[in-house]
């Protein structure tokens, strides 16, 4: 049987690559040059942003303009160094170089934003605050913002974990046991599709605290998709797997924990992902309406004072947190589902 060992294949490929590089030194140089041109462009864009802050006077009262300008200069310098000395900086240099087009776009966007708000007022104030006023929130209102973020994370984590755990267990039991399916399925069909936020008014009165009510609602929003997808995952496991395990002496408990659940995991993660999205929505609404803490509350409070810069600042934090949570979930999934090929990279 003609087989190649993995190392043979690798060395074959390696040879070809080195040959390519040796043969195309000129091409290599050109592509490196093109990369550093993008890098220089990105540096210039940030330089332009810094200059745009200083060149014209602000049309309003924003004390952080200079700080922002000098930070932009620092970033511009950093990009310039990283892209020109890319080889010496190793991984960091590579990272900056790969992101150079984005850094350029970001610098250009900030410049435009600065000019159209703080300098020439093309966009109406206070709905479109300039970058320096958002930075001002992070420098001057940081403790309150951090407290809010922390409160949101705490509420979200508690509700999400409860909902995910309950949903997973419910899904496995109705996927596995006919009796559980008989009783739970109708309830699930009746209550599940209801948006969790519809419960808000009732929940805030019946639960002892706004916090417990919100935890319940977040758990509800998470639990429904997790239940349904776990259930469908367990139900769609090929009976051939059970046959194999049974002929090898597997007991029912083994079939559940070592066959049904691992086979259903890809579905479970889809449910966890959907549940995460749904629970973010509930979290923010709950914080806006009942809970006197958290980023939703912060947003609501900022709106009351018409301080739009605080709202944008809170939105950015919120988006970072949500995106971070999803990244984390995908990391866990990639760890647990290494056996799958071709999973989506987040």
């Amino acid at each position: 049987m003609p087989t190649y060992s993995a190392s043979e294949v690798a060395s074959l490929r390696g040879d070809r690559e080195t040959a390519l590089i040796a043969g195309d030194g000129g091409l290599q140089f050109v592509s490196r040059l093109r990369f550093s041109i993008t890098g220089v462009g990105a540096g210039l864009a940030w330089l332009a942003f810094g200059l745009s802050c200083l060149r014209w006077p602000d049309i309003g009262d924003w004390p952080r303009t200079e700080v922002v300008a000098y930070t932009a200069f620092a970033i511009a310098g950093g990009i310039a160094i990283a892209t020109t000395a890319q080889a010496a900086l190793g991984k960091f240099g590579d990272g900056v170089q790969r992101r150079a087009p984005w850094l350029f776009a970001l610098g250009a966007f900030l410049t435009l934003w600065e000019l159209s708000t703080a300098k020439f007022g093309w966009l109406p104030l206070p709905f479109f605050p300039p970058p320096q006023s958002i930075v001002e929130v992070y420098t001057d209102d940081l403790p309150k913002l951090l407290d809010s973020a922390f409160a949101s994370v705490k509420l979200q984590l508690g509700g999400y974990f409860i909902g995910a755990a309950v949903g997973f267990l419910t899904g496995v039991s109705i996927g596995w046991s006919r009796l559980a399916g008989y009783w739970v399925h109708p309830i699930l069909r009746f209550i599940g599709p209801l948006p969790a936020t519809a419960w808000l008014p009732i929940a805030f009165f019946t639960f002892p605290s706004a916090w417990s009510a919100s935890t319940f609602l977040i758990a509800l929003a998470t639990g429904f998709p997790v239940t349904v997808l776990t259930w469908s995952g367990v139900a769609s496991v090929s009976s051939a797997y059970y046959d194999v395990a049974r002929t090898l002496g597997a007991r029912p408990s083994f079939l559940v924990t070592k066959v049904a659940i691992p086979a259903a995991l890809p579905h479970v993660f889809v449910g966890l992902f959907m549940g995460l999205g749904a629970s973010f929505a509930v979290l923010v609404v709950a914080e806006m309406i009942g809970v006197k803490a958290g980023l939703g509350f912060y947003l609501q409070w900022a709106q009351g004072w018409a301080s739009y810069n605080n709202m944008y600042a809170a939105l950015i934090v919120m988006s970072l947190l949500c995106s971070g949570a999803i990244t984390l979930l995908f990391k866990v999934r990639d760890r647990l589902l290494v056996w799958q090929k071709g999973v989506v990279k987040w």
């Binding site: 194999v244 002929t247 090898l248 066959v259 691992p262 056996w339």
Partner: protein, 263 residues
């Protein structure tokens, strides 16, 4: 019946298998599809029996009944005189598809039986031995999607062998292998069987394979399957493919399968 089975000398640990008057049918959309019709086969301990028959006649179904995955509609199946009522690891099946668990590495797939029986902790060396036996020592940590079809089939074989079955049930286990690997695996299977002394029940489409491996070849009719011939292959092992006696048997069996005109 074409030839009567000669008395067979049992070798070692194999169990006897008695299939007595088994009939089976499936309900498909309210109509009944008869699949097995009064099948009786008696397999002595340590015997190697090959089952041949047209596609879709019910061979895999019979193997499912032997495995205990389903009860027959009529008749009984016995292992060593004890009725088969459910799956038991003394009767291990290598299915037509390898059905490896995609979330387990090769090693963990092969370890499945020992793990299910709760003896893996003390018997880890058996897993390694079984993997080495099928020549996949270098792929212990690979996942099924990283294997070729033939390699996956070999893992399935190792997963069965690791349990030291008394009856090994094989459903076209070599069907997906290239002809060279196939010949190697056939020889490997014979020596395994001779060494371990299990009783083997092999479904195959390949008449030559049946004659190369088995003490007896049983030929089925079209669906619903009935036994149309029970042929003893009384040649010593290792056998040679050019053996004129085997060629004569082959011609005879192809005739029974209605293919004599083409050969």
């Amino acid at each position: 019946m074409v030839a009567l089975a000669k008395p067979f000398q049992p070798v070692a640990t194999g169990a006897s298998l008695d299939i007595k008057g088994v009939s089976h049918a499936f309900d498909i959309d309210g109509s009944v599809l008869p699949v097995l019709d009064d099948v009786s086969i008696s397999v002595a301990p340590g015997e190697f029996v090959a089952l041949l028959g047209p596609s879709g006649c019910g061979k895999s179904t019979l193997l499912r009944l032997v495995a205990g995955l389903e009860p027959p509609r009529a008749g009984t199946l016995e292992e060593d005189g004890v009725a088969i009522t459910g799956p038991y690891p003394s009767r291990v099946v290598v299915f037509q598809d390898p059905t490896l668990f995609p979330w387990r590495t090769v090693w963990d797939n092969v370890a499945l039986g020992l793990e299910a029986q709760g003896v893996l902790k003390t018997q880890r060396h058996r897993v390694d031995a079984a993997i080495d036996l099928v020549g996949l020592g270098a792929f212990k940590k690979a996942y099924p999607h990283q294997l070729s079809g033939g390699m996956a089939q070999r893992v399935a074989l190792a997963r069965a062998l690791v349990n030291d079955p008394r009856i090994l049930v094989l459903d076209e286990p070599l069907g997906k292998l290239d002809s060279l690997t196939r010949i190697t695996m056939q020889a490997e299977l014979v020596s395994l069987w001779q060494r371990n002394g299990f009783t083997a029940l092999l479904v195959t489409h390949d008449v030559e394979e049946a004659l190369f491996l088995a003490n007896r070849v049983i030929v089925f009719s079209d669906r619903p399957a009935r036994v149309t011939a029970d042929i003893t292959v009384d040649r010593p092992y290792p056998r040679h493919r050019g053996d004129p006696h085997l060629a004569e048997l082959r011609r005879q069996i192809l005739g029974l399968l209605g293919l004599d005109a083409t050969w």
